[in-house]
């Protein structure tokens, strides 16, 4: 392959990681969602690019899904929810921004270290892609565990899933990619609906566990 | 064979007849030591006969066990006493029981005596029995340890063999034997309910041990028990005599002349031991019941030390 394609792919993947960091940095919900929308757009671009260089046309579908569903539908929906629940003012990080960023940097290094152990015979593009994907996934998890708010945890999960799609599309000729991305979109839809249905404000836990224990007899 | 049977029989009669005399002698000496005239030496015989003549007063709820016990005690003690070499070793039936068995026979006598003490259901019987078994629970192991050390020296628990060995010159002087002797004496004092462990003459209930157990006995039953206690004293004295003063002991098969010598020697030993006992008893005072464990514990430790020192002294 020529350098350019590689560089573009590299650039897009790298910018995804960057955007993940931006997510870590956001502590307002609206901002977070907007950043995520950006994340989704860049993902769509990178997928489309992969589709182009691998001329695997089914990947365009994935790109489209990413663009339409993740960059537009979900963010809008989440905006709605936030207004409904009236939590748009919340500052909802469980851990301070600084430590989170440090942790994020640590995670990225970790994933780099892991992936660079991979023997160079493997397709270099795949290698880089994997390194970035792994960092995105870990950062997504980090978002999930450092945020109190259900919505932002959904966002974290979605960014994690973006990392998966990135990895999947980066893997040349991997079957089922489209199906998987569809499946995941449905999964996320479920989660969002769940958040909406159960009026989950603070955490995923619909109420304080303690209240349940009496029923369960698990109270000590 | 016949002669040996005769010797055995003679031994049984001798111990039976000698036991009250021994007690009488001890009492006499004690009386003299405190400048009293004292009853005559044969007073114990008279007591026994009088007891025989008296009627038995039996507590209301005394059971059959209470009435059988005196005979059992007497029988067990008598058999035990008959198996200890007195004036001759190697008796016909000496192999029936070794030293351990003799100890155990006395143990069973005590077992039944304690039971009889509890049968009537008065608190005195209880006191006596519980104190008796407490004393026994220390005295018996001490006795067995003494047996151990003797057996480890002589390589046998068979009294005749032990006596023969102790008579032989190769024994020499051993620390552990001395310890065993002291322990044996202490055990003997405790077993026979002598001062300082118990006072055979007391009738103040709270100080009694042996007397409390037999408080309910009267008449012929009491006679049996008394005789048994006399026998027991004799037994221990002859035991000490035959193990630690094994001079003038001949095999049962030896001629009548030798036996006569043996008998004479035996009487002298008894007399000596009786006097020692009397002197000791007049010299010391009775101790509190709960000091007794210390006394016997000392005996136990001595016996154990004796056993352990054996290896040292042998290796010397």
């Amino acid at each position: 392959m020529n350098g350019l394609t590689f560089d573009i792919a590299h650039l897009l993947a790298g910018s995804l990681v960057l955007i993940s960091f931006m997510m870590l940095y956001q502590d307002r919900l609206f901002a977070l969602i907007n950043v995520f929308a950006l994340h989704a757009v860049v993902l769509a671009l990178s997928v489309a690019w992969q589709a182009y260089i691998q001329d695997a046309h089914h990947l365009y579908i994935t790109a489209a899904i990413a663009l339409v569903f993740k960059a537009i539908v979900i963010p809008v929906g989440l905006h709605r929810i936030i207004q409904r629940l009236g939590i748009h003012r919340d500052i909802e990080t469980a851990v301070g921004i600084g430590p989170t960023m440090l942790a994020g940097i640590g995670l990225v290094t970790l994933s780099m270290v892991l992936m660079l152990r991979v023997t160079p015979e493997a397709d270099p593009l795949a290698r880089e892609d994997l390194a970035f994907a792994l960092s995105i996934i870990l950062l997504g998890l980090l978002v999930m565990v450092t945020r109190r708010n259900a919505v932002s945890q959904v966002v974290g999960f979605m960014s994690l899933e973006n990392g998966l799609v990135l990895a999947a599309t980066g893997a040349k000729g991997m079957p089922l990619v489209v199906e998987i991305s569809v499946a995941f979109s449905i999964l996320i839809a479920f989660i969002v609906i769940g958040v909406f249905l159960f009026r989950i404000r603070e955490r995923f836990d619909s109420v304080d566990i303690g209240a349940l224990d009496d029923y369960r007899g698990e109270r000590r | 064979m016949i002669s040996q049977l005769a010797v055995q029989g003679a031994q049984m009669l001798v111990v039976l007849l000698l036991a009250p005399l021994l007690i009488g002698f001890v009492r006499k000496v004690k009386a003299r030591l405190v400048r009293r005239q004292g009853p005559s030496v044969i007073q114990p015989y008279r007591d026994l006969v009088r007891l025989m003549r008296k009627e038995v007063v039996l507590a209301d709820n005394a059971s059959w066990l209470f009435r059988v016990t005196p005979y059992l005690i007497f029988a067990a003690t008598w058999v035990a006493a008959a198996l200890v070499p007195t004036f001759a070793t190697g008796l016909e039936f000496s192999w029936t029981a070794d030293l351990i068995v003799i100890v155990a026979l006395l143990g069973s006598a005590r077992f039944f005596q304690a039971l009889a003490g509890m049968d009537v259901g008065t608190s005195f019987g209880g006191i006596g029995a519980s104190r008796e078994v407490m004393i026994a629970s220390l005295a018996e192991p001490a006795m067995l340890l003494i047996v151990f050390s003797l057996a480890l020296v002589a390589g046998a628990t068979q009294l005749s063999t032990v006596a023969a060995f102790m008579g032989s010159p190769e024994v020499g002087l051993r620390v552990s034997l001395g310890m065993s002797l002291i322990a044996l004496v202490m055990v003997a004092i405790a077993e026979n309910a002598r001062i300082p462990v118990d006072n055979p003459a007391t009738h103040l209930e709270l100080t009694m041990v042996h007397e409390a157990m037999i408080l309910e006995y009267s008449g012929r039953h009491l006679a049996m028990i008394e005789l048994a206690t006399f026998l027991k004293l004799l037994l221990y004295m002859s035991l000490i005599a035959c193990v630690f003063l094994p001079w003038g002991l001949y095999g049962a098969s030896a001629g009548p002349k030798a036996l006569a010598v043996g008998a004479a020697a035996y009487l002298c030993k008894l007399a000596v031991l009786a006097i020692v006992l009397a002197v000791f008893e007049t010299a010391v005072a009775k101790m509190r019941v709960f000091r007794v464990p210390d006394f016997l514990g000392a005996a136990l430790m001595l016996a154990l030390l004796g056993t352990l020192l054996l290896f040292v002294s042998r290796s010397l």
Binding site: G173, F198, F204 | -
Partner: protein, 483 residues
């Protein structure tokens, strides 16, 4: 792939799928339970026919080998007995109005879909397909756990759902990594996901990629196996869902995930430079065993108690497979089968007990052997079996695991034995309270379906005394495959 054999494989997939469709569309909800039972029975028969028919050659998507036949037969069998139990259980739930007719239709349809998913997971030769199947089964169970719509049920389902989704994601990433590792060697396309192809060429795969992949797969599927500390969804899901589902979860779904882990363990073992999967599995197994053992003590909810005991036993099984070697693998397989049978039997009993006593609180259930001898003694036998006492099957597997471990790595056997004893003490403590003493709680006679639980217990008992030679040969062969 032609011939009857294909039909057998297809049957165990299509019968549940078709039944699900029928059940979903069925107007008469009273019939649904029966249809469910019939469908499960047919599936079981189809699975059994796998023994007699010759195997299809491994295709791109489907594979039948000695390893998964064991799982399939166990799966369909327990699926069938559970459907029988669920019929009587659900009838009672209808009386007590905890479930309604539409619920019922939904429930049975979901049941069949779940069976379909699990069977598919077993027969799939394609790691991507296997992933899809496992997730399908998981999501259906999520919906079933929440079926009561009570606050707690929804909360449990939600927890299950979220943790499960994360697990899904991790597993998928692992799968992708495996593909990436395979792709340079096998070439692009589906082939790089076909397990039977992968296992041949695994030696040439990139070890580093494989190692990372295995960690993600172990965590992803391990979440479903319920290994500590990934177990969090399991106790609540068991406690809040309908008891037949608890039985299926413990008895089957955990096995599905375990099966996936085993497949990838083989893959990893085939590549010498990659990290050994053994130590990881041993560690996770021991952690789960001891952790669950301690957690058992303070449980107040009877179903949650046995859920934790499932975690404990999954720990033992994973430990055994992690140890590897013919003896330990044999023990692991045996233990897995025995655990499925016993645990589902226990849940059958517990379901009826909870229904008749009207509570799941352990403290409110006493003296079952007095009030309901049938259920009480079933519970006693079940717990005695699960606690690893002879003459029941689990004793044999624990005997093999412990003794073989001690002979090879004594320092590993100590924590193992420790965990076993801890768990034993807890289970017995609870059993003593539940089964003995002054009866407490509802005394009404119960119309229970004793056949499923006692048939399971009978099997477990028989296995503890006598394993038929062909079965043993089969297991030894499979143990050999597992290396």
């Amino acid at each position: 792939m032609t011939g009857f054999s294909f039909d057998a494989v297809a049957a165990i997939l299509f019968i549940p799928a078709g039944a699900a469709a029928i059940l979903a569309a069925m107007p008469n909800y009273r019939m649904t339970a029966t249809v469910n039972v019939v469908a499960s029975l047919l599936t079981l028969l189809a699975a059994l026919s796998l023994f007699v028919t010759e195997r299809p050659a491994p295709g791109q998507y489907l594979l039948v080998d000695d390893l998964n036949i064991v799982f399939i037969v166990l799966n369909t069998f327990v699926g069938f007995t559970t459907s029988v139990f669920s019929a009587s259980y659900i009838a009672h739930e209808l009386e007590t109005r905890r479930l309604t007719a539409p619920n019922l239709r939904f429930y049975h349809a979901m049941y069949q879909i779940m069976m379909f998913g699990m069977n598919l997971a077993f027969v799939s030769n394609n790691i991507g397909l296997m992933w899809v199947a496992v997730e399908l089964a998981t999501l259906t169970t999520v919906l079933m756990v929440g079926i009561y719509r009570t606050h707690e049920a929804l909360e449990a389902a939600w927890k299950y759902f979220i943790l499960g989704s994360v697990g899904i994601a991790l597993a998928l990433f692992g799968t992708i990594l495996v593909y990436m590792a395979a792709q340079p060697v096998v070439g692009e396309g589906t082939n790089a996901m076909v397990w039977s192809v992968l296992i041949e060429k695994a030696a040439h795969f990139d070890p580093a990629l494989l190692s990372v992949a295995f960690i993600f797969l172990l965590l992803g599927y391990g979440t479903k196996v319920g290994l500590a500390p990934l177990h969090a969804w399991l106790p609540d899901a068991h406690a809040e869902g309908p008891t037949p589902i608890s039985a299926v979860l413990s008895g089957l779904l955990l096995n599905v995930a375990l099966y996936a882990v085993l497949r990838f363990k083989l893959l990893l073992a085939a590549s010498p430079q990659a990290i050994g999967p053994g130590p990881l599995m041993v560690t996770m197994g021991l952690t789960s065993l001891i952790f669950a053992g301690f957690m058992l003590y303070r449980r107040r909810d009877i179903k949650r108690l046995f859920a934790y005991s499932s975690i404990e036993h999954m720990g033992i099984i994973v430990f055994a497979f992690g140890m590897g070697g013919p003896l330990a693998n044999f023990a692991g397989l045996l233990h897995m089968v025995m655990h499925s049978l016993t645990k589902s039997a226990i849940f059958f009993a517990v379901g009826h007990i909870a229904q008749v006593k009207g509570t799941q609180k352990i403290s409110e259930i006493r003296g079952l052997t007095e009030s309901h001898p049938g259920l009480g003694w079933a519970l006693v036998i079940g717990v005695v079996a699960i606690a690893g006492l002879p003459p029941l099957g689990i004793f044999m597997s624990e005997f093999l695991v412990v003794s073989s471990t001690f002979a090879r790595h004594p320092w590993l056997a100590i924590p193992l034995v420790f965990g076993l004893l801890i768990a034993f003490g807890a289970l017995l403590l609870r059993l003593t309270g539940l089964a003995f003493g002054e009866p407490r709680g509802g005394m009404a006679p119960v119309e229970a379906s004793y056949v499923p639980m006692y048939s399971h217990l009978a099997l477990v008992f028989a296995a503890g005394i006598y394993l038929p030679a062909p079965l043993v040969a089969w297991f030894q062969h499979v143990a050999g495959i597992l290396g």
